[in-house]
């Protein structure tokens, strides 16, 4: 561990976010492991890269261009104004020009212009067009996996060009020619086999929940249960599988259980749909996203629940909120009184407001809290009935269960939030330096809040952010205990 640490490049935390000197290729050395045959095949992709991949790649590219308005539009309309160039956390952290949103997109546009535009095929130099060579494919594989699909760039782009769309399309094209990323493909394959990203079979899951129930009993003296596969429960709770096994994620799971217990609402988790996360989205594959999402839909039907509630997970919420209805039809067999699915923060805050549960905010008086808006919640979804509900509801919930809350400084939160540096399917150790670099802007903002406001706790509602920050904090010389979910705060404050 000590040795590994020494090899990482960890920026110094000063509280300031500086725009670095541009160095093309500065982070080219960090690459993902390639997807393996079994996993690729299970996801419906060719097992490996074969002769003639260029022609195949161009064919898939063409198909995407005719079936994805955003991609079609975003290939043409960039004027290279530079508005996005200093907005991406991966550029700010690495200084690599290919990590500027426009630099990343141009890797695809060069190929696009070569094959699909008259200017590119006639005047290659003028239009900066390039055939799809092995060298270019290597760049794609490097830089389209140094993007967390957080969409911060799109917020600043005069045309709303969404790099996530471009990254997803690039990954779809690469998967389609047999060049996949090991981390995401392994995980999706596990979901198909076991129902969750970690690959926990149902017996092991039940064991863990039993242990957790005992822990809660020891701590509170109450018989708080976490039912699994309970048919006829009111609520199907879909949480990221990290909530079952990882810290500090489990603290939030305890929090959810206490809320259901105190409100007297029956709930169940599922061993078939034991995963909120949807890595199909990260690799940009409609079919895989749909299939992962369908497990939730099928399970809600099978267990005859009245509502579906999503736990603390950022991109999972985007997938459930934005895609589920499109991909697998409406949850019209559920109770139409409720928004389906509902975010757990929306649900818990509703109970607090109705007086169904009570909080003692002084229970969290040891904490001076700040909140990190997770990118997919902030810029890809909504909570509640009002616009900006995704900002308002988590903050109101934090304030309901704690007395000391401070915002991170403007420009680093809400719609302008920096990503944690681990989203979009890059939360894997082989690109640790990219993750460290990508976390830098948010870490600087947090450092500033620590120095100026005495902040000692970072509240989150995303499993990836939790994992990323608990990994980053020690590397930056901070205590990982200072990171946790909002329902960890709920768990301490709720009066049982």
């Amino acid at each position: 561990m000590a040795k590994a640490k020494a090899s990482y490049k960890v920026p110094v935390l000063t509280g300031e976010i500086k725009v670095p000197k541009v160095v093309p290729g500065a982070s080219a050395y960090e690459k993902m492991y390639q997807g393996e045959k079994d996993d690729m095949a299970a996801l419906g992709f060719p097992a490996s890269l074969e002769e003639g991949w260029e022609i195949k790649a161009v064919g898939i590219f063409k198909q995407l261009l005719t079936h994805n308005k955003a991609l079609r539009d975003y290939m043409d309309i960039c004027v290279r104004c530079g508005a996005c160039t200093d907005k991406c956390q991966f550029f700010l952290g690495t200084g690599d020009s290919n990590n500027m949103p426009v630099g990343r997109a141009e890797l695809m546009r060069r190929v696009y212009r070569y094959y699909f535009t008259p200017a590119g095929s006639l005047f290659k130099g003028l239009a900066d067009a390039e055939p799809f060579s092995m060298e270019m494919l290597k760049k794609w594989f490097t830089y389209y996996y140094q993007c967390s699909e957080c969409r911060r760039c799109s917020y600043y782009c005069p045309y709303g060009i969404d790099t996530a769309v471009i990254t997803m399309a690039a990954r779809e094209i690469m998967n389609g020619i047999g060049l996949g990323q090991k981390y995401s493909t392994v995980i999706i394959h596990k979901v198909f086999n076991t129902g969750n990203n970690i690959g926990i079979p149902s017996a092991a899951l039940r064991n863990t929940l039993d242990e957790l129930e005992e822990e809660i009993k020891d701590a509170t003296g109450k018989d708080i249960k976490i039912p699994m596969d309970a048919e006829g429960a009111e609520v199907l709770l879909i949480v990221p599988s990290a909530d079952f096994f990882a810290m500090p994620h489990m603290e939030s799971l305890i929090g959810y259980a206490k809320v259901f217990y105190k409100a007297g609402i029956s709930f169940t988790v599922s061993s078939y749909a034991s995963e909120a996360a949807n890595f199909g989205m990260f690799i940009g594959s409609y079919r895989n996203t749909q299939e992962v999402n369908k497990r939730i839909w099928d399970e809600a039907k099978r267990l005859k629940v009245k509502r579906v509630i999503a736990g603390e997970c950022g991109h999972a919420w985007r997938a459930m909120y934005s895609y589920s209805n499109t991909m697998n039809g409406p949850f019209d067999f559920l109770d139409s009184k409720y928004r389906q699915p509902t975010h757990i923060c929306d649900f818990t805050l509703g109970l607090v407001k109705d007086g169904a549960i009570k909080m003692d905010p002084s229970a969290n008086d040891d904490k001076i809290i700040t909140y990190h808006d997770s990118c997919n919640v902030a810029r890809g979804s909504r909570m509640g009935m009002m616009p900006e509900g995704q900002f308002i509801i988590p903050r109101e919930l934090i304030k309901a269960c704690a007395n000391n809350f401070h915002e991170l400084r403007n420009g680093t939160n809400k719609a302008e939030t920096y990503c944690c540096g681990g989203g979009g399917g890059i939360l894997t150790d082989e690109v640790m330096n990219v993750r460290i670099a990508g976390s830098m802007p948010k870490m600087q903002a947090i450092r500033e809040a620590m120095d100026n406001k005495g902040v000692n706790f970072l509240a989150l509602i995303c499993a990836i952010c939790k994992t990323q920050f608990t990994k980053m904090y020690p590397l930056y010389g901070l205590d990982a205990e200072m990171v946790g979910g909002i329902h960890q705060l709920v768990s301490s404050a709720i009066i049982l």
């Binding site: 000197k21 917020y155 997803m168 940009g284 409609y286 499109t326």
Partner: protein, 253 residues
């Protein structure tokens, strides 16, 4: 039979050619953008919940460049000045048809002066944008030849336009002025007549034809694309109303 001199013959042909390329190119692009389906909802949230709200959001981008304002103030100032002055100049050139009749209205000098001021602003803002493209590392590294080309074409259009007001004699300018409206009208009613022969004017006019014909192949198409950007025009109501495009299934998100 049309009674045209050699130069006019060429320019009439080029004018129709450039016009056809522009119209066909732009219309084709609109059709392609409009017909391509979007598989899923991707509004960049917080987003308006209603179509009216979303239209307002697109309008704020088109009319005020709101996102660019958030991103980079100096670029916003220069970009905004350029677009406004260019738009005004296009409108003034068309308005000229209704204004330039003898006797000239008393405010004709003012009319011309507004055009000159717009031309100067257009040139200066373009100069800043070119300067920035060459000086700022982050922008220089992403700039490609066509980015410079379009700036240079536009700057040359501004310079040659201004030169008509500053570098040629008053009688020569009046001569162009008198011949211009009949020429443009002739083009519009498909009964072309001779083009004003002044070389300053010919250069200005040639550059404009070049620009018009180049637009459909260039990044200037952002003036169409901005209306088809799903992150901006989509409403945030995926739960309230099912969004489903059967022909966009099974591909990339």
């Amino acid at each position: 039979m049309l009674d045209l001199n050699f130069v006019s013959g060429i320019y009439v042909f080029l004018t129709y050619l450039a016009g056809a390329i522009f119209i066909i190119g732009v219309v084709l692009r609109i059709i392609i953008y409009a017909k391509t389906p979007m598989p899923v909802k991707i509004p960049l949230t917080p987003a308006p919940l209603t179509p009216m709200g979303a239209a307002g959001r697109v309008a704020s981008e088109v009319l005020l460049f709101r996102s660019l304002y958030r991103a980079n103030k100096p670029t916003w100032v220069a970009g905004y000045i350029f677009h406004i002055s260019f738009l005004l100049l296009i409108l003034l050139h068309f308005a000229r048809h209704f204004v330039y009749h003898h006797p000239l209205p008393s405010w004709y000098q003012l009319f011309v002066s507004i055009g000159i001021v717009c031309g100067i602003f257009m040139f200066l803002s373009l100069f800043y944008l070119l300067f920035r493209r060459m000086i700022v590392d982050r922008v220089r590294i992403i700039s490609i030849l066509s980015d410079y080309l379009i700036l240079i074409i536009l700057m040359m259009i501004a310079v040659t336009g201004l030169s008509l007001n500053f570098f040629i004699s008053a009688p020569a300018l009046t001569k162009i002025d008198n011949k211009l409206d009949p020429f443009v009208t002739g083009i519009a009613v498909f009964h072309p007549i001779n083009i004003p022969g002044n070389p300053y004017f010919i250069v200005h006019y040639s550059l404009i034809l070049l620009l018009v014909a180049y637009i459909p192949f260039s990044k200037v198409m952002h003036f169409v694309g901005v209306f088809f950007s799903p992150t901006r025009y989509m409403t945030d109501n995926p739960q309230e109303e099912r969004y489903y495009k059967p022909d966009a299934e099974d591909l990339s998100l």
